[in-house]
Symmetry: C2
């Protein structure tokens, strides 16, 4: 009645586990009915040619989990309860009933990953691996990886590692025009998490949110899953057109990228910034300023943030290390107005328990020991040159394509195509010659959107950039 | 009319930035009204004793941000728009109107951090720093920190680093009785994030959720903020009492800790597991199995998971590295039934963009190169001994306190006090003699709850444990 046991001595699984598992499966399948007496361990050991202790261990595991019961002197028997395991054969597999949020999340377009390997990929939001000082980074990580440091053996603070929050408050105040106290700085696992927490805290069904078009598609998806209604204003060379906010707008939340409009480029000048703040004050609205790459400006110093002009605590500033250190770091920060510190920190504690301490400690030292400012100078130089090469190659080989922004900044360029061109077709043709470029449509909220493409330059060498644009020009000329 | 500029040459701020900032503040404050002509750069440079290029840089920054306009030949003038900056003096500071979720998050009790430094702190969920092989960890991290490795310069996969998902699927199938494909394994930033995403996907207002009491308080908070109604069943030595689920229960979600009930200890035997699965099948319910420390069993091998008995995809398995590697790592994983893979991954992409790749790569190698299993053996030995010392010290010095569970497992022990004792008073007395112990009330949903305390042993040496229990006994005897 006992099934034949198949034991493999060279298997990574211990022998006792193999015996346990095969008996367990036989019991669950009903091959060994309740009350069946298992062979004495001595006998089974002899049959399958293992040490007796091996069988004993298997029986102990079965007993600990309730598959068998052992009666002293009488032996080991399959437990009574196991009959339940026989499953009704007609039971349907589980199919979840999703919440409203769940249905919306499922419907969101999501991030479409480029899966084809391309020779020259103008993917954006990447960093160039040869620029980052990995040797310094290794040294900073190693500093905390010792048994003398108990920091890692405890849960960190939900709001972030305090020395990092201090280093950021100092850096942001000095160089980004974001005056703040360390308590206002909260570390998050990427800017997307900060947006999600803000949306959950602040948005109710049918609330209006003012956004830019083209704009940051992942934020659109997020606001929509919270049941918000997006009201979009088409940006121009000076970013978000505050003066075109409808007079009857009910919005109490605005999402903008003032330093370098995403993805079209362009900078909000002082006048528009002040007008936006005034509008927000009149409507008691909150402004989310996404400064995703504010450090990366190439024909002058970075511009200071909108947040620094805010006098009554209605700007939330989002910053990230994804662009200026490396994307796989997954570390961003948010500077909160005083009234939002407690709600945000409470929410953050509920939804996860904070970012990894080791990474935060290393970033903190990277900033305070001035590696960060040195690295930024290096980045500005390298990326500025790459952008220059890209813009000049486009002028030379693709004179019909227009870059609307003149701001030398960021990690990509958005090009508007002549109206008769089909952007999907342009992307397909580029792919066919091994060049990865990205359609502009997902970032536009108006439909049909003006045909446009996005080209990131931060993951490529200058030679690759030039070569890529040449290939693109050749294939479009066909 | 120009304010006196105070420049500090030994300041970390560049001189041009100091000039820029002081002029900007003067303009915003209305000290330099619109149309004011700034001194020629040559003159200002002479006055404040800096190079002319320094002043030019400051003027360029002011111009780039729209504070001033420059007319060739005529000079630099404060821009017209700046009048807007004058704030209505009676504007109230921003005060956010929170969503329903936001209000609930604010009301949640949150994690109360122990802030006092205690000589002997029985804090739980810690790891003992001297056990973790930091030298191996350093080596694994360093392996990926080189310029040849482009992995870190790109965004990782939202669902997790594939080699880690493969390593986990293999490990879980072999040693935890959790058969699964790598696609079912999704990496999350802590188990709390997995719970949050599941709650968002599955819970609607007024939904019932079945939970254990005492139980995992952070999950209670989370389910409540989603508007769910908690229905709790008091656990016994065998965990969640399935047979006591009310016949009229509307619940379609159950949260349980079958391998080692949190926080009271005890293990759900096979019969209850099968009964729970049968109940879930009949009610079309989903079971969340939180296996937060399933690896840490000391008087036998770890028990296999409930998930392995599930035949129709209605168990979600949560596992974490916080307890078995180190808490500050912030890395957990979820094994999803097939029907939940797409909704969960979509939701994860919306709420953040995945866990740090470097950490995931290092953990992946840590598992596949067998350091993990070796480390687990080491942990079981060390923690098993510590638990033994704690349990024996309690028996000797505190015979009135009862540990209900006989399972030698986990990282803490829960002790029930005699009914006449006040747990808050016991905690206070312990604190007064430098001993940190933790009240059981926050984990109980019934009120008044039976007086109890929690003692973690994983952050202390055996000598400290013995000493701590002696001190506790002395202070309670007074």
């Amino acid at each position: 009645m006992l099934p034949t046991l198949h034991l493999q001595k060279d298997n990574a699984l211990p022998l006792y586990w193999q015996i346990y598992w095969q008996l367990r499966e036989a019991i669950l399948a009903g091959q060994l009915p309740a009350g069946t007496r298992l062979p004495a361990s001595r006998n089974l050991a002899k049959t399958v040619k293992v040490a007796r202790v091996t069988v004993t261990q298997a029986y102990e595991q079965l007993q600990a989990e309730g598959y068998v019961v052992s009666h002293v002197g009488a032996g080991t028997f399959v437990a009574d309860d196991v009959g339940l395991a026989k499953r009704e054969s007609n039971a349907a597999p589980f199919h979840p009933v999703l919440s409203t949020w769940g249905e919306r999340a499922l419907a969101a377009q999501g991030k479409t990953g480029q899966s084809t390997r391309l020779q020259i990929d103008f993917g954006f939001g990447r960093s160039f691996p040869h620029i980052f000082p990995y040797n310094i980074w290794r040294r900073l990580l190693a500093r905390y990886l010792s048994v003398d440091d108990v920091m890692l053996s405890r849960y960190g603070s939900t709001a972030g590692f305090m020395p990092l929050r201090q280093a950021l408050a100092d850096y942001l105040g000095r160089l980004r025009g974001v005056p703040c106290k360390p308590e206002q700085v909260v570390i998050v696992n990427g800017a997307q998490q900060a947006l999600d927490i803000l949306a959950r805290l602040l948005l109710s069904q049918e609330d209006e949110v003012l956004v830019e078009t083209p704009g940051y598609a992942a934020a659109f998806d997020l606001f929509r899953t919270h049941g918000a209604k997006l009201v979009s204003l088409p940006v121009d060379e000076e970013g978000f057109p505050v003066e075109r906010i409808p007079a009857n707008s009910r919005a109490r939340l605005v999402f903008v990228t003032p330093s370098n409009q995403f993805p079209s480029g362009g900078t909000m000048p002082l006048a528009r910034r002040l007008a936006l703040l005034q509008w927000a004050r009149q409507r008691d609205a909150l402004i989310i300023e996404d400064d995703y790459d504010g450090e990366l400006r190439y024909d002058g110093r970075p511009l200071t943030a909108l947040q620094g002009l805010d006098e009554d605590g209605r700007v939330v500033y989002l910053g990230t290390f994804s662009k200026v250190l490396f994307p796989a770091l997954r570390l961003s920060y948010v500077v909160l107005p005083p009234a939002l510190i407690t709600p945000f920190t409470q929410a953050k504690a509920l939804v996860d328990r904070g970012a990894p301490t080791l990474t935060q400690a290393a970033v903190s030292d990277f900033i305070t020991e001035r590696h960060f400012e040195r690295h930024l100078r290096h980045l500005r130089h390298s990326y500025g040159q790459r952008r220059q090469v890209l813009v000049e190659a486009v002028k030379r080989y693709l004179p019909d394509l227009v870059c609307r922004s003149n701001t030398a900044a960021g990690l990509h360029v958005m090009l508007y195509l002549p109206p008769h061109m089909d952007e999907a077709e342009v992307v397909r043709r580029a792919t066919a010659v091994g060049v990865g470029i990205y359609p502009g449509a997902p970032y536009h909220l108006e439909w049909p959107s003006p045909p446009s493409i996005l080209l990131g330059f931060s993951g490529l060498t200058e030679v690759e950039i030039e070569e890529g644009i040449q290939r693109l020009a050749t294939t479009l000329a066909k």
